[in-house]
């Protein structure tokens, strides 16, 4: 099979050269007729010329096809390459003649157009043989991998092939091949894909060292990620267990405080003390619940049930849950919502919990008698939900960057007197990220803005 290809290549090459010679001869003949024959019957010779030219082109294309089979490169591209090459050679020939004329070694004026064509044809033919021959030999050497990756010829190839954006030539050199593998592995690792493993014995020299180093980096990274996941899980388990242990005595505290409240107590102070214990016990209860929640979410220990839901419906539902809590603090909700459904992919229950935390946050920390702005917008295939309120306590941005507010236990106020665990924003953020949404908070003057962005579900 291989031998066949080789033979037919040779045949085609000879054919090509034969047609080119025929073309040159026909030009000579044409010139002769013009000079010596008064009848000037040119058409027959023109046909000979055209046929030989056509033959040359066809044999050239055939030759290119053969090369394609060997180099496995896209046929069209190689043909276009060859056409470029021929045009280049032709251009060079003309330049050469012009140069010669300029240097007075020949006088173009003396020649007829046909004579010039003869000269051009000859030069083209010679150059063609040289270039095609050289290229063929380079091809052969590259195919056989008899070429060094840092040689000029190879670099030339690289520039050419990069220019075409073809990867064919990268595959040709072993070194380049190995480098490509290393690059691919690096990209996969960068994308967080830690299951790649480079086979060391397939690499040589510097590449082998690099491959080994990459393997070590990957192992290290994998260990670190695994250790982190394990730690997070252990932490989550620890928090869950500890909170179970806290809940049992807490249950008794809550119950007996309640019983104590029912006792007839005359002492005003005692009643006040009980009220305080009651409040703090309730807060402790919320804190333990939130703590379990956040550790569960951040360790990925939560099962999502994603489905296509209507963000708008969810906001109306949430609004129904919260209207009285806002009214109690004299907060006016100003809504700006679209009129049609806003479908997204999310776990409705978890998204509600995220939104609920933001509403609770607003209900708790907004300045009384102010407005709370709730907005849902559709932009560039994204659903953007935002809630804005004026914080009753001044949020000191210099003390802590406000992004820290989503960190566990950080609150806008320095003191920790208000009820709440300080976990609300953190829970909202973790849940949103877990479902593939984006979460951000920022300050614009007095306005505290929380934003949740989800890509729209494929609208079909």
């Amino acid at each position: 099979m291989k031998k066949n290809i080789k033979e037919s290549r040779l045949l085609l090459l000879i054919l090509h050269q034969a047609f080119t010679i025929a073309m040159a001869i026909s030009i000579y003949a044409y010139d002769y007729i013009i000079l010596h024959n008064q009848n000037r019957n040119e058409i027959g010779y023109l046909i000979v010329f055209l046929v030989s030219m056509l033959g040359a082109v066809i044999s050239l294309i055939m030759f290119c096809r053969m090369e394609n089979i060997i180099v496995k490169k896209k046929k069209e591209k190689r043909i276009i390459d060859r056409i470029y090459l021929e045009v280049l050679i032709l251009g060079c020939a003309f330049l050469l003649i012009l140069l010669a004329d300029q240097m007075k070694s020949i006088d173009i004026g003396k020649y007829s157009l046909a004579g010039l064509s003869i000269i051009v044809g000859t030069i083209v033919y010679l150059m063609d043989i040289i270039v095609v021959g050289t290229l063929s030999s380079i091809y052969y050497r590259i195919v056989k991998k008899h070429i060094a990756a840092d040689s000029l010829i190879y670099m030339g190839w690289r520039i050419l092939s990069n220019y075409e954006k073809g990867k064919g030539f990268q595959e040709i050199s072993k070194k380049a091949q190995e480098q490509a593998k290393i690059k691919e592995a690096l990209e996969m690792i960068a994308d967080g894909e830690l299951e790649v493993m480079l086979e060391i014995r397939n690499f040589h020299g510097q590449e082998r060292e690099m491959a080994a180093a990459i393997n070590r980096i990957k192992e290290g990274l994998k260990d670190a990620v695994e250790a982190r996941t394990r730690d997070e899980r252990m932490k989550a388990d620890l928090i869950t267990n500890v909170s179970h242990d806290i809940k049992t005595p807490l249950t008794s505290i809550v119950n007996y405080v309640d019983l104590l409240k029912r006792e007839e107590l005359d002492n005003v102070n005692a009643k006040n003390y009980i009220r305080i214990i009651d409040e703090k016990a309730q807060r402790l209860k919320h804190l333990t619940e939130d703590l379990v929640e956040i550790s569960k979410i951040s360790s990925g220990n939560i099962k999502l049930e994603k489905q296509t839901i209507d963000f708008l419906e969810l906001l109306y539902q949430t609004g129904g849950e919260f209207n009285e809590r806002f009214e109690q603090r004299n907060l006016t909700i100003v809504t700006k919502l679209p009129s049609a459904c806003v479908m997204i992919e999310a776990d409705g229950r978890q998204l509600y919990r995220a939104i609920e935390n933001l509403y609770t946050n607003a209900a708790k920390y907004a300045l009384e008698n102010t407005k709370v702005y709730v907005e849902l917008a559709v932009e560039k295939k994204n659903a953007i939900f935002s809630i804005k309120n004026i914080s009753k306590n001044h949020i000191d941005v210099s003390r802590t960057a406000y992004q820290d507010l989503t960190e566990r236990f950080v609150r806008g106020e320095a003191s920790r007197t208000t009820e709440g665990s300080g976990l609300g924003l953190s829970i909202a953020k973790s849940l949103t990220l877990l479902m593939g949404g984006r979460f951000s908070i920022r300050l614009e003057g007095e306005l505290f803005i929380a934003e949740i962005i989800f890509p729209l579900a494929n609208s079909r």
């Binding site: 049992t248 963000f311 849950e321 509600y352």
Partner: protein, 228 residues
């Protein structure tokens, strides 16, 4: 009525005893699963409240054993709040699941609700044409009356209509717009919170814990539905 309370924490058992006695129940006490199983065999118990994490025999295993012989209502009371724990508890035969720390009044309400359902089961409601039910929730459309576990609930006309619509189409999820259109009989232009607020009010009236509804479920981002 005799109620068995089982928890390895003595103070919790005592506190529950006080609350239940105030409501006129008789209380039997046990401090681990084995004692609970024994107590059920010895006494004529009407309902059991049992903790999960206990020495000797845990609450889940105890429930499994008791279910082999008895069909009394069982309420699990546990510090475990995971959905998986709740599902496990309900699957082995418990009728209700409460998490610690609990609101004592809610516990009493749940005990009463379980007992009413248990006693009512024997005296089936006669099947009138205009009676709709979902679990312990019954709507007598002729009388415009709603009961939950036998106890009457007062609803406003709109609340009643919404609930009736949902109960008639039990299990089906209705969006806010759909509910609006079928109750108000007009097209919903630019919906608002109205329906959602009514739904919350209904939940507060018919559910023991409106945040964890048994009957009127919120399907977030989709709508509302009634389940058994």
């Amino acid at each position: 009525m005799k109620i068995l309370v089982c928890d390895d924490d003595k103070e919790i058992v005592d506190a529950i005893e006080i609350y239940l006695q105030q409501e006129g129940f008789e209380v039997e006490k046990a401090y681990d699963g084995e004692e609970a199983v024994e107590a059920i065999k010895r006494n004529d118990v009407d309902l059991m409240i049992i903790d999960v994490m206990m020495p000797k025999l845990d609450g889940v295993r105890a429930t499994l054993q008791i279910r082999k012989e008895s069909s009394i209502p069982i309420i699990i009371l546990s510090a475990k709040t995971e959905d998986a724990d709740k599902i496990l508890g309900l699957n082995v035969g418990a009728d209700d699941y409460m998490t610690k720390p609990f609101n004592p009044l809610e516990l009493v309400a749940r005990v009463k609700s379980q007992l009413r359902r248990y006693t009512q089961l024997s005296s089936q409601i006669k099947q009138d044409e205009n009676v709709y039910e979902a679990g312990g929730l019954v709507i007598y459309d002729d009388l415009k009356k709603v009961t939950v576990d036998g106890e009457e609930v007062k609803l406003t006309p709109i609340e009643y209509n919404i609930l009736l619509h949902l109960v008639k189409n039990k299990g089906k999820v209705y969006s806010i717009n759909q509910i609006y259109e079928s109750i108000w009989n007009e097209e919903a232009i630019g919906a608002d919170n109205t329906v959602a607020v009514h739904i919350r009010h209904i939940r507060e009236k018919i559910e023991i814990d409106p945040k964890e509804p048994r009957y009127l479920k919120v399907v977030w981002g989709v709508g509302y539905k009634i389940v058994d």
